[in-house]
Subunit: 351 residues, 4 copies
């Protein structure tokens, strides 16, 4: 199987390179008769698009989505949706100087090893721009989940060594970091501003909550709900780790500390992160992602070129100093796709 | 899709419940003409089987595998292998008292919510015993990978709050913890013995290395090699998190610290854990797993029964106080399955 | 993808060779809580098993099925069913003389070309014996469909040049041909007896009807209900063609003759065979299969051996002179698997 | 699984409705580094496009394809190709009068039963226009197969009751019927002209040959090469049957007549149609398709409307009186997709 599709019953296929003709997604398996508009999609895309703050890339893409199939009279028909975003501010000349070199931390070297050919213009297929298709597809899933009473919320929990100290969802869209703590967000930005002066970048942690999800979703043995969420999350470029509930701290706990005891009112704790045995408990699903620092930095680094010769490289261009705020809508999109897919899988089980 | 299959071109389907007739696996897509014997499988199964040390379950299963198809004259034929292990020491009566109750930390409640029926005998399908089928399938993949020069090694890195301080692979099979540091293993066991006296259990961290793997494996966008490994690892019962290379510590690093610079001799560091952009770099693949403490503890805990009434429960029975040593061969098996599958996917790309 | 699995949400994987340890199937995605017994499976297997009449192979296999997982207290649990039939009357010595030769009409040559190795004992994986696993899986689907009010009926329509002249379903299980016309069955058997004296075999046509199926099943574009039925049917060894409704005779009709007009009581005709645009109309689904004459004949034929040298071969052994009666339960099984899978796919669409 | 994708390793997803924004396809799994141009695709699309002869629809679509991803410097990159054709001559007003009625023979009724909503403009997703995406994808496969020395050729064998009497491939693209016999083509057109005067349509038979294909392709058990070809062919709208080699006439043959004997020069006959046991023999693959008469006829027919009331309908609009010539490139496209996919599957088996 080629790897550009995700999901089984709600199935997303993305296409497109950063500086090719367009990016976008085809979504097959959409519930029919559901009202859906370009605005539903555009709202989410606008959260992902570049140029939102001082630390994000100044690339100027309006990222206006067109839906070319699968909608009739404002409703979904059950046939595939194609959502497409043409590339308008593609500026490949910026990459001319480094087209033969492998930028450290980027997929340049590995794509070349895999395919023997690569579109070196702005990371090509490996560009974060590919995620526009995911966000478009996720917006469809988000709409379907909303009808089920399910909501998905992601936000920056740590960045540049600064941690949120409170969880205030109302703050998230009010600060450029999409942090759940406004004051921490201010400190994060101070830190990032300093790092940017140093031509460097920072990583962080993004957290995600899925609320209102029913108990019983997830397919043991291999397609556990957490396994599929982990798959989805690690498929996002800069993500290097995922943990559910207590996560890695569970390794330091005893069973009596970690087990979530139950009462007739539900679970007393949520160390499991809302998933036990790969199946949702009905509790909030909670997971965190390790986000690596942006690989593109305007500093001299050692690398090699396609001939194997040693070179030094300074990655100019248009980049985000911290990718967390723009990963947030991508995380939500992927979480929505997984959740919607598993609702359909559960329906099929008894269908 | 029902969730009992994994892999695309090297495809594993497991079956079986803890106290049903048998457990095992069907493997489709096996390379033909490869010498394979029951011993190849049994060796790995013996590493997983119960009764290996003081802290593991005393259940007495010889776990002798039979291969009933797919082999002819000692070689694989390319047709499906079925490997089956009959359950001989099934003792469901031990579960009679708690068949209407949901053990905290176990999948009892979630299976019941999902299916409306559950085999309450020893966790049924959610039992760790299901992983015998994975280990059998993984042993086949391990054999194929060995021919490619690839080796996969997992071991306990932390347990009960005790961390390994050195990486000495020769120690791993010499201590019951399967730790990579013999002295740390001794301290782990001391700690676990104390916790067991307290009728409690501990968690830990398992690390895995895939060596000798070629550059270029992994399918962007969604089936990145790390995404599929994460899927595989989170599909193992007690695993609550996964991180690659620097992992969560990458969140605290800057780009100049995290980027793996390249020279003509290869990468100077391996913060990426051998995978960049979802594709193997040729470097060793390195990841760690958070393993939660065993849920079965002989302590009174609050729970509910199938009628929703509040109860208290003490989980007697035969259990591991720390599951890390027995997860090690399962981790290796799943890693082998992913790696072998991706070798075949890469062959198909150019095939 | 290796090719030993079929279906998406009701998913069947078969395993086993004719003279290996066992044959059988794993079925994943079974609706939970459904009463299911070995007898439900055995009844269908008994229709497929050898030794039922003068023109079928005398191989003596009791074909007793064991269900080793997926059942608890007489009900399905939603976890995979494994159904296994051990091979007891395997007599590979009968094949010793021809193990280096390719029997005309058999898959000997093509398996050798594909795999470079083959289990020459009784056709190995290509044996009709593999279909026991399909029939077992189909019996599960048949049970689920029965609850939906859907029934599937196949029968011999033509054999050895003799055609049924009436459709009397009560006759089907009363004659060894499983023909829908008792008198025609007698003439078929006369004809086959003569052909057998001549050490030859005959082909035929099998017809299948799916009744009670709801309108709206089938997934355009590629997974049309007829496309998936065609896939299922052509996956049966001796089947060389399939046609729906008017089938090939539609090629000779005009649009005004072929179109099924509609009234408020339903369709006036069923030239479409119950499927239009790949979706069930609610009318009976009707299709026919071309079944080739059995390839094994005790006559001298030209062939080659593994070294490429020319040889002559007489295929002794235990064979059916006309495979139609034993294909009938396999056709029903595959039709049931497709129908059940599409019920689940439709549930997922709106689920 | 939603049904708009086909193939496993060479994987095609089509999208689009007849009178929506666009139709097209995404192809994932394309071999990298292969020269590919819009012309390669356009050449095949021009064979499918409307307005090629007196008996085809006069809809005026230039059907100019754009490739928006997956190509760099004139070569494939291994990332998904998206090929898109905008709808320019969409004229939905022609369908206003019949938007509440179900045209006999069309998928109007079944789509409505399935989805509860339908795009009634020109058959929507069920339109033959959807096949433009298939032809585009098939053109990519055709290019890859050409490099392997494989060619695929389809043509009209019968239409309106007139049969070809010779097989002259040079004639196929020289007559509007795409018949393999120029004189028969003239008679077919005479016949069709008469039927058109009568406001009626005709069916036919299309034959297809795959030449140069290696022995050993096809995945037993379920994904036999003929099973997958049958799936592909029955997924084409008007196709109601498929037969391989001797096909339905095999039902009338004896084993000694049907078996293809072998010599050191190869098979003496090709009754099997180039596939035995689901695996290619190396002989030419040969199959025929039953094509039903076009459903759209300008004659009064009985039908019902969405409220269930009885109505009469005359299907005006732009239609083909015989669809065979325009199905020919679709048949080739689907055959190419299956063949290329199986080359890759075979590579994976040993890869």
């Amino acid at each position: 199987m080629a790897g550009s599709s995700f999901g089984h019953l709600f199935r997303v296929t993305t296409f497109g390179e950063s500086h090719g003709g367009a990016v976008g997604a085809v979504v097959d398996g959409v519930t029919p008769q559901v009202p859906l508009s370009c605005e539903d999609i555009q709202t989410q895309l606008d959260r992902r698009k570049p140029g939102q703050g001082f630390m994000t890339t100044p690339r100027n893409e309006p990222d206006t989505v067109q839906i070319l199939s699968g909608i009739f009279d404002g409703r979904t028909t059950g046939t595939p949706l194609i959502m497409i975003l043409y590339n308008s501010d593609a500026d490949p000349s910026a990459y001319d100087d480094i087209k033969d070199m492998f930028r450290p931390g980027h997929a340049d070297y590995t794509y070349f090893q895999k395919y023997g050919i690569r579109d070196w213009r702005g990371s090509g297929r490996a560009s974060g721009r590919e995620t526009a298709g995911r966000v478009a597809a996720g917006a469809v899933a988000k709409k379907l989940l909303h009808q089920r009473g399910v909501s998905v919320l992601a936000y920056t929990l740590r960045a540049g060594g600064v941690a949120c100290e409170e969880f205030d969802p109302s703050q998230i869209e009010r600060n450029p970091m999409r942090a759940c703590d406004g004051k921490a967000a201010a400190r994060m930005m101070d830190r990032i501003a300093k790092v940017m002066e140093d031509n460097d970048s920072v990583g962080g942690v993004v957290e995600c909550r899925i609320s209102g999800i029913q108990a019983g979703l997830g397919e043991p043995v291999f397609d556990k709900l957490d396994a599929e969420l982990a798959h989805a999350m690690l498929s996002i470029g800069a993500v290097k780790g995922v943990e559910f509930g207590a996560g890695f701290s569970a390794a330091e706990m005893t069973g009596s500390e970690h087990n979530d005891e139950m009462t007739s009112d539900g679970f007393l704790t949520n160390n499991a992160g809302g998933i036990i045995g790969g199946i949702s408990t009905g509790n909030e699903i909670l997971f965190r992602l390790a986000v690596k620092p942006t690989s593109s930095i305007a500093r001299e680094q050692k690398t090699t070129d396609v001939s194997g010769a040693e070179r030094t490289i300074v990655t100019e261009g248009r980049h985000d100093a911290c990718i967390c705020p723009r990963i947030v809508p991508v995380v939500e999109a992927m979480a929505c796709i997984v959740a919607e897919d598993h609702y359909k899988r559960q329906a099929a089980l008894f269908g």
